[in-house]
């Protein structure tokens, strides 16, 4: 039971202890002290605290401490009863869309939408008038008053589950609506419902105290804390404790429920790694690396040291590259040891050059891009032997605020970043034009009208028609492709030396993708801006880039000129990646080449080559030693590969290919299960 994990948090422990104490009192106190709490001491009416009566006595001389303890049972029972009513009605109305179908469901939704606007206490007052004053009618009143917000919550939760495909699959399996509700919907919304029911029990307890305090809840001779407070308020000058003591009891019991709900909510929604990275994962449900951690020591995970010293390749003709990365590492400290999603990347990008970074999910390509752009946030940490942009060493922490703002200005003006999802990468509450001019106005303090004119000019330059009108629009009025153009225009506001584009076309349609890629290419050739293009699609990268770095398991496994990719790639992973993608010339009579095994798991990394577990050529050495990225034979340093057994000749390549298809690719992935 996942709910029990709450006991591992301090807040959960505190809440559990208080809750258990409250419930114990509710059970035990009436058994022990019921009669004593009724006993009247006529000699001691309305007295203050004394040794005999620690909290004093009431109008009839009854002991207030005992009465407070005994009242626990009625108070808690009524609160739980009201919560039950609210929960039951809430689920009934909340599940209506699933049970009754669309039309009736919509009616239920609008009914709840109207009801939820009315505060519970008001409803309780009305019901008190209709049903008469008393504890049972008050319980119903508070329950009914709480139902709309529960129904709203249920509807939201049910709606989020109902659009899941497993519900559609169950419908196709011919299961009834009721069975689907019972078997698929309720189990998947149970956790948030329990959390909210706990909090609602606290709220019901407080609401009940309120009603009783007004005299509309529990009636004499019964008593709960609310009623005791009402009776105590009359004598607040004589004995303030008489009013406050039952109030403190209300707060303690309410806290027990509320803290419990808070602790449950916290322990059930612990943040996951991808969220902490601040990236939108391409796959809807990223693997949760931290849950499978095996606690290897951090140094071990960080990989061997020898790979770091290798000099980045790149045209030596440029003494000063736009971007130089040497031994870049991004790590995530955690309780399972330090995970290192990027470990030892060295790369150099010359002015006007286009370099592509290709990899699957978990390869570390996007983090490499973010680290290069200085956009990695805590808790991730970036380390590098060298991280230079336009001659400025970004690993030096700027000493003065002047230095700092100079750095920021350099990055703001000269480094453009294009993100994956153009739908979410613009501020929805600001006009496009305002978002374009913002950076320039902030760094250079130029005139608004001048900046605005430049924004319109830039929008026109990236092929947006009627740029003047478009600049005054909000992002949601743009199509996806147009937003990505606007994002590129934003990068062109200053004087960019490098554009870092992180999966800029993944969220776009193929025809739009082509236009955006062409635009990036145009921009690059027109103003000789360098480009760093990150993509999972090797074909896209090859189309645009001069040089390609293939990443796997947080490392560059091969780096080569784009024109060598088809024929001369040497790393088995690169070759497999090329073979695995079907294109318009794929032989229809042969099965597609596949890569066995599952994608790399950050937390389970061995000392050897990260690709070794999936590699058909892997030997003992591959599993034990991580190969360094070294220049490949005939390339003169432009082609580098990190592999103990690079595929050099065509014969070996054919052999490897044959191996892979003969090895029954599907069963190879399946076999990891056994």
């Amino acid at each position: 039971m996942r709910l029990l994990t709450v006991l591992r948090t301090p807040m959960g422990v505190v809440a559990s202890i208080i809750l258990v104490l409250v419930l114990l009192t509710a059970i035990v106190a009436p058994l022990l002290w019921n009669d004593a709490a009724e006993a009247r001491n006529t000699a001691n009416l309305n007295s203050g605290p004394s040794a005999e009566h620690p909290l004093g006595t009431d109008v009839l001389g009854r002991d207030l401490l005992l009465r407070t303890l005994v009242a626990t049972r009625l108070t808690v029972l009524l609160a739980l009863g009201a919560t039950g009513v609210a929960l039951g009605l809430g689920i009934l109305f909340g599940a209506a869309p699933v049970l009754l179908g669309h039309r009736a469901g919509r009616l239920a939704v609008s009914a709840v939408n109207i009801a939820v606007a009315f505060p519970g206490l008001l409803l309780a007052l009305v019901l008190a008038l209709i049903l008469g004053v008393g504890e049972l009618s008050a319980m119903w009143a508070i329950g009914i008053a709480g139902a709309p917000s529960f129904a709203r919550l249920c509807q939201t939760l049910v709606a989020s589950v109902a659009e899941r495909d497993y519900i559609a699959a169950a419908r196709l399996a011919g299961k009834s609506r009721f069975r689907i509700l019972l078997r698929h919907v309720l189990p998947n919304i149970a956790e948030p419902l329990i959390v909210n029911a706990t909090i609602a029990a606290g709220a019901a307890l407080l609401a009940f105290a309120g009603l009783s305090f007004l005299g509309l809840g529990v009636q004499s001779p019964s008593y709960d804390w609310g009623r005791m407070m009402m009776e105590g308020l009359d004598r607040i000058y004589l004995n303030p404790i008489a009013a406050l003591a039952p109030g403190v009891a209300v707060v303690i019991a309410g806290l027990a429920f509320n803290l419990m709900g808070e602790a449950l909510a916290r322990s059930l929604s612990t943040p996951r790694i991808p969220v902490a990275w601040g990236m939108r994962p391409r796959r809807p449900y990223p693997q949760k690396a931290e849950e499978r951690g095996d606690g290897e020591p951090a140094d071990h995970l960080a990989g061997p040291g020898h790979a770091d010293s290798s000099e980045p390749a790149g045209p030596a003709a440029y003494p000063e590259a736009v971007l130089t990365l040497r031994d870049l590492r991004v790590s995530l400290p955690g309780h399972l040891g330090c995970l290192t999603p990027v470990r030892g990347i060295s790369l150099r990008i010359a002015p006007g050059e286009a370099v592509g970074i290709v990899g699957e999910s978990g390869s570390g390509k996007s983090l490499t891009a973010l680290a290069a752009a200085q956009l990695v946030e805590e808790p991730l940490a970036v380390r590098a032997a060298t991280l230079k942009f336009c001659g400025a060493d970004l690993m030096l922490r700027p000493q003065s605020t002047r230095d700092r703002s100079r750095y920021q200005r350099l990055l703001g003006r000269s480094l453009a970043v294009v993100f994956q999802d153009p739908m979410t990468s613009f501020n929805p509450t600001m006009r496009i034009g305002a978002q374009l001019v913002e950076g320039m106005r902030f760094h250079d303090g130029v005139e608004r009208s001048w900046a605005q004119a430049r924004a319109v000019d830039r929008l026109g330059a990236v092929g947006i028609e009627e740029p003047e009108r478009r600049a005054a629009m909000y992002p949601h009025e743009f199509s996806g492709g147009m937003r990505q153009r606007a994002m590129i225009a934003m990068g062109l506001m200053g004087d960019p030396q490098l554009i870092i584009a992180d999966e800029p076309t993944t969220a776009l349609d193929v025809t739009v993708q082509k236009q955006v890629l062409e635009l990036l290419d145009e921009v690059r050739s027109a103003s000789s801006v360098a480009l760093m293009l990150i993509s999972h699609d090797i074909a896209v990268v090859r189309q645009v880039c001069d040089r390609i770095a293939v990443m796997y398991g947080g490392r560059i496994v091969e780096e080569l000129p784009a024109d060598r990719l088809a024929e001369q790639a040497q790393h088995p992973y690169t070759r497999a990646l090329i073979a695995a993608v079907p294109d318009m010339n794929t032989d229809l009579d042969e099965p597609l080449a596949t890569i066995p095994g599952r994608p790399v798991d950050l937390s389970q990394r061995s000392a050897g080559c990260p690709f070794a577990p999936r590699c058909p050529l892997a030997t003992q050495r591959c599993h034990e030693q991580d190969p360094a990225l070294i220049p490949a034979g005939d390339s003169g340093g432009a082609h580098r590969v990190a592999c103990w057994h690079p595929v050099v000749d065509a014969g070996r390549a054919a052999l490897a290919e044959a191996d892979r298809s003969a090895g029954e690719p599907a069963s190879a992935e399946g076999s990891e299960l056994s």
């Binding site: 406050l244 509320n258 805590e378 200005r409 902030f442 949601h476």
Partner: protein
């Protein structure tokens, strides 16, 4: 642009009118939903049959239902809400005398809650982002849970006991002067402020993780500007959506607080009216509270529409 706003006004207006109609009808039906004879329930089992008949006649309960309904609606528009049974005064006079007191109290509480919640929630969010200052985060979380758990009327009682009775600094009950507002407004605003500041914090945190905030960071703006210009406006829209409902409940909380401070508003009146089964008065007060809540919600939606251009399009 114009078109979008008209569509929004039309949609939101329709919803307000439907909600008002539901409210009015519910208030009207209230008296008819009382099990058995409402007049007998009001006057007690010992009342003379002649008196019961007379009262029923006075309340117009012998007429056909639809006629009563029309009369009720007509009364709403002409300001004739009947006569209070317990007070013997026209209901409209009771409202005129007491509504202003409740309104001032509620508005002040509302303003104080927002003025506390926004800066506190935003500051805590920025300070505790990405698991920094865990101690501060934990103490804020526990403090806000505790404050939100203390019921407003208990806080009222405690404030009276401390500042009124023990220290004798502030009046324990209504005097009409400005100083008598201090304690009830605090009692009223503390809980909502705690809940609202938690919402602001959570929303700001999740907004700071949005892609467009990363875009703003890529422009290398100062973190101050990123929070104030990019994150906060978006967080506030989300916080208002959730918080708007809660501010509605603040209107109802005045009932309890008024009773603690013997405040001559509608809240202290309604309890007596319910206990005395003063149907016309309860109907009128429920209508006033309900309308107040509906207006607050509509206001929140309008503010949302001004802040977030997307909310004027699309459904609901």
């Amino acid at each position: 642009m114009q078109n979008r706003w008209t569509a929004f006004a039309l949609r939101r207006g329709t919803r307000l009118i439907i909600s008002l109609w539901v409210l009015v009808s519910a208030a009207f039906l209230m008296i008819h939903l009382v099990p058995g004879d409402p007049v007998r329930a009001m006057l007690g089992p010992t009342a003379a049959p002649a008196l019961v008949d007379q009262t029923r006649e006075n309340l117009g309960l012998n007429d056909p239902l639809w006629e009563q309904y029309l009369r009720f609606l007509r009364g709403l528009f002409t300001g004739d809400l009947g006569t209070s049974i317990t007070m013997g005064l026209p209901v409209s006079e009771v409202l005129a005398a007491r509504l202003p007191n409740t309104l001032t109290l509620g508005l002040l509480g509302f303003v104080l809650a927002i003025c506390l919640a926004l800066p506190v929630g935003a500051t805590i969010a920025v300070a505790t982002r990405k698991g920094r200052r865990r101690g501060l985060e934990l103490s804020f979380a526990s403090t806000s849970v505790v404050v939100a758990t203390i019921p407003d009327f208990l806080l009222g009682v405690a404030l009276v006991a401390i500042f009124g009775v023990t220290l004798e600094l502030l009046p324990v009950a209504w005097t009409g002067g400005a100083e008598s507002y201090v304690l009830p407004v605090i009692a009223l605003a503390a809980g909502p402020a705690a809940v609202l500041s938690r919402i602001v914090r959570v929303e700001l945190l999740s907004t700071l993780d949005e892609d467009f905030v990363r875009t703003a960071r890529a422009k290398r703006l100062s973190s101050r500007r990123i929070v104030l210009r990019h994150a906060l406006p978006n967080a506030v829209t989300a916080a208002l959506t959730l918080g708007g409902l809660m501010l509605g409940t603040l209107v109802a909380s005045t009932v309890l607080v008024e009773n603690v401070f013997a405040w001559p508003g509608l809240g202290s009146t309604v309890v007596g009216a319910i206990l005395g089964r003063d149907y016309p008065l309860v109907q009128a007060i429920v209508l006033v509270y309900g309308t107040g809540v509906l207006l607050v919600n509509t206001l929140v939606d309008v503010v949302l529409a001004l802040l977030d251009p997307r909310s004027t399009i699309g459904d609901q």
